[in-house]
């Protein structure tokens, strides 16, 4: 804290603070997640009284974390290249025999770039929320949850063991539930929140079993103990290594929305738009990619299974890109686009070029946050309408939003020299370099074209052409207007980041990010390109440009009409019936099973209990007739008994 204060006052030179003994930013890194968490707690307790001040508290907390993260990053940068990994223990958590888990932080180059992304993008989204959530009745609670969300992700990123990472992992899931279902009065939104939570839980089971296996094999859950020993303890290609990696990947598919567990993410659009931006850019969905990058020494043992990850990534990317081409909801298009881009990241980490995956994660964090916030700005202007066919011509009404959104679109479409171009090329280069991954490269290139197409479609339909909106049922017509500065400022900042983010790693071999992440990941991607790099780049860019032009021809006219929802387009519009499929294959049998069990409980278990009660009752209704209530009849019975006993004695006496 003192270091930060001093830095802000500018009294002590920055380098002195960074090297001060016992006061280096790394020692205070634990405050990075704790401050937003405490702020969240305060807001939950006293938010009502704070009212609109809640936003100030939340933003201050995020700002603190952002500044602290930057100091940590700078401190790591000031250290020699081999000494940039620090483990700081705050306290003991679990101490049970061989299982020792501490509350400790792993501050290394990988964690530090994630910290920067989460805190700065999170901060911008917080600022944006001031304007976007203005007038919401649960304004303080929203900021409390947002802070908690950021804190959870920071715990996830900083956790120094599988279990501490898992704590953040679960907290992120909880926060997504709370925020996706923020407007829980709407039944659909509440259902979407539940869906997000439950689908994530399926992945979490995989993660947990992977953790058990790690502990079984290594006797520890600490990254510092597990990862360096992975090769010696497990050996290349061992069954345990395969099991651990695949189960970790199951967890990653849940959190990072890959086939088969991606279905929650499009529905997660039910939350307020800043939440979508936070989920899609900074927190939550990046967790799976981060996990795979973090456990890269394990994956290096089983690179052929990494290829499977890349395949799943590219298939997810292709399928969801196709779906995105046919969607009408402006946030759903972005949601499917996120899943598609996450597929790219998994190509990178799966093929062993983690730097490419993380690079795409960072640039995607910039431009997807930008696109979502722009979408939120549009919805703000359009009275919460979401159908892109009911928009058009918004460029004139809201130029800042339109221009920043255009930067985001071009970035995600991979137009050079914007950030998306560099990171996407790097991911595809990894596919081109790895033997056996050439089909992945080809599909990835096609997805690049599709990405350009659907994002251009998104942009043209919203901002170009003629206004297509109609009056509501109650006759009200939206009057689009530019959003307040609290919303446009983050847009501008993110647009700059989206444009310049590529500077992080312009050359895959010598770029900054490459050298920076070197100590944290273990690269195992191939080095033999199957076609000349320059040609590959030209091909992909050409495909992207084709996508843009096709979209321009199809949708850039002054007046366009929605395509008929038939055939392939209709199938894509309905997300290829994947949700329907899951409903039939998972939900309906589950529902029937539950119903069957309920019937068994009612008839079987309850029947047994009630039946014994009823049997007693029936028996009693017969035997109670014996109780006449007349003393004399009882006496008669006694007499009868006495005579009987007497007769027996008599009989015994005379020897019957």
């Amino acid at each position: 804290m003192s270091a930060v204060l001093a830095a802000s006052e500018g009294v002590v030179p920055l380098t002195r603070i960074l090297t001060a003994p016992g006061g280096s930013p790394v020692d205070l890194a634990w405050l990075i997640p704790v401050v937003p968490a405490v702020s969240a707690g305060l807001l939950l307790l006293f938010g009502k009284r704070l009212g609109r001040l809640a936003a100030a508290v939340a933003i201050t907390a995020m700002g603190y974390s952002a500044v602290a993260s930057t100091l940590v990053f700078a401190f790591l940068g000031s250290q020699p290249e081999g000494g940039r990994t620090f483990v700081r223990t705050v306290g003991t958590w679990i101490s049970a025999g061989p299982l020792q888990v501490d509350w400790s932080l792993l501050v290394d180059p990988l964690a530090s770039v994630m910290l920067l992304l989460v805190t700065w993008v999170g901060l911008l989204i917080h600022i944006y929320s001031i304007g976007y959530m203005h007038g919401d009745e649960r304004y303080p609670r929203f900021f409390a949850y947002m802070n908690l969300f950021a804190a959870s992700m920071l715990i996830l990123v900083l956790g120094s063991s599988f279990l501490t990472l898992f704590v953040g992992w679960e907290l992120v899931g909880l926060c997504s539930y709370l925020l996706v279902g923020f407007w829980f009065e709407n039944r659909d939104y509440a259902t979407a929140a539940k869906k997000a939570f439950i689908v994530n839980r399926i992945g979490d089971v995989g993660f947990m079993i992977a953790m058990f296996l790690v502990f079984f094999a290594f006797g520890s859950l600490d990254f510092a103990q597990v990862l360096p020993e992975a090769a010696t303890v497990l050996g290349a290609g061992s069954v345990t290594a395969v099991a651990i990696c695949l189960l970790l990947f199951v967890g990653a598919t849940g959190k990072s929305a890959q086939i088969p567990l991606y279905v929650w993410l499009p529905d997660a659009m039910a939350g307020p738009t800043p939440v979508s931006a936070l989920i899609h850019a900074a927190t939550m969905v990046t967790a799976g990619v981060y996990l795979l990058a973090r456990t890269s020494p394990l994956w290096a043992l089983v690179p052929e299974w990494g290829l499977l990850v890349a395949w799943i990534g590219v298939i997810t990317a292709l399928v969801t890109a196709l779906i995105a081409c046919a969607q009408r909801d402006l946030k759903k298009i972005l949601a499917y686009s996120t899943i598609s881009q996450l597929g790219y990241m998994f190509i990178g980490v799966g093929l062993g070029d983690q730097v490419a995956g993380i690079f795409h994660l960072l640039t995607h964090g910039f431009f997807k946050a930008l696109l979502f916030l722009a979408a939120g700005s549009v919805m703000h202007a359009m009275a919460n309408r979401t159908d892109v066919w009911g928009m058009g011509g918004l460029l004139r009404a809201m130029p800042i939003t339109a221009i920043t959104a255009l930067v985001g679109v071009l970035a995600i479409a991979g137009v050079p020299p914007l950030s998306g171009f560099w990171s996407k090329e790097e991911v595809l280069a990894a596919a081109a370099d790895t033997p056996g991954a050439q089909p992945i490269w080809l599909l990835g290139a096609i997805v690049a074209g599709l990405t350009a197409f659907y994002m251009a479609r998104w942009f043209y339909l919203i901002f170009l052409g003629l206004p297509r909106w109609e009056a509501d049922a109650d006759g009200s017509v939206p009057h689009p207007h530019e959003s307040p500065p609290s919303m446009t400022l983050p847009l501008v900042v993110l647009a700059v980041l989206s444009a310049l983010g590529g500077l992080l790693n312009i050359n895959p071999e010598t770029g900054f990010l490459h050298g920076w992440l070197e100590p944290s990941v273990q690269r195992y991607a191939g080095e033999t390109p199957f076609l000349a790099e320059a040609m590959a780049i030209v091909l992909v860019v050409a495909l992207s440009v084709v996508g843009l032009v096709v979209a321009l021809l199809a949708y850039g006219r002054r007046w366009t009409r929605p395509a008929p929802s038939m055939g392939a387009a209709g199938a894509a519009q309905r997300a290829f019936y994947v949700d329907r499929f899951y409903e039939t294959v998972v939900m309906v049998p589950g529902w029937l099973l539950a119903k069957g069990l309920a019937t068994f409980d009612r008839l079987g278990i309850d029947g047994l209990v009630n039946g014994s009660g009823r049997a007693t009752q029936r028996l009693a209704s017969v035997t109670r007739r014996l109780q006449t209530g007349f003393v004399r009849s009882y006496v008669l019975a006694v007499l009868g008994g006495a005579v009987l006993v007497g007769a027996m004695f008599f009989g015994a006496g005379v020897g019957w």
Binding site: R624, Q627, G629, F630, R632, L636
Partner: protein, 101 residues
């Protein structure tokens, strides 16, 4: 003159039977109560008779026990009857049928 033991036993059996019949036939609680006493005393008579026949004192000792128990029983029994009468204003045993199903 020595009365044969069999007569005593016959007398006791007769008294006991009278008591049994009284309990079974009469409805007045007090009479039923007295019949019970009658049965107890007939048993006492039997005990004493056998004591004489066998030439030991065990039967006589036991008859004293019976008397003590009978005295205690009278105490409790009469108290019950008095209370019952206060409750029901009747000494008819058939009126006391609250436990009847």
């Amino acid at each position: 003159m020595v009365v044969p033991a069999g007569y005593y036993l016959l007398l006791a059996a007769a008294l006991f039977s009278i008591g049994v019949v009284g309990v079974l036939m009469r409805r007045n609680i007090i009479v039923m109560f007295m019949c019970i006493e009658l049965m107890l005393n007939s048993v006492n008579l039997t005990l004493v008779t056998f004591s004489r026949i066998n030439g030991n004192l065990e039967g006589q000792v036991l008859s004293f026990f019976v008397m003590v128990v009978a005295a205690a029983e009278v105490t409790v029994g009469l108290a019950l009857i008095v209370n019952l009468f206060r409750l029901k204003a009747s000494t008819d045993a058939d009126d006391v049928d609250s436990l009847r199903s």
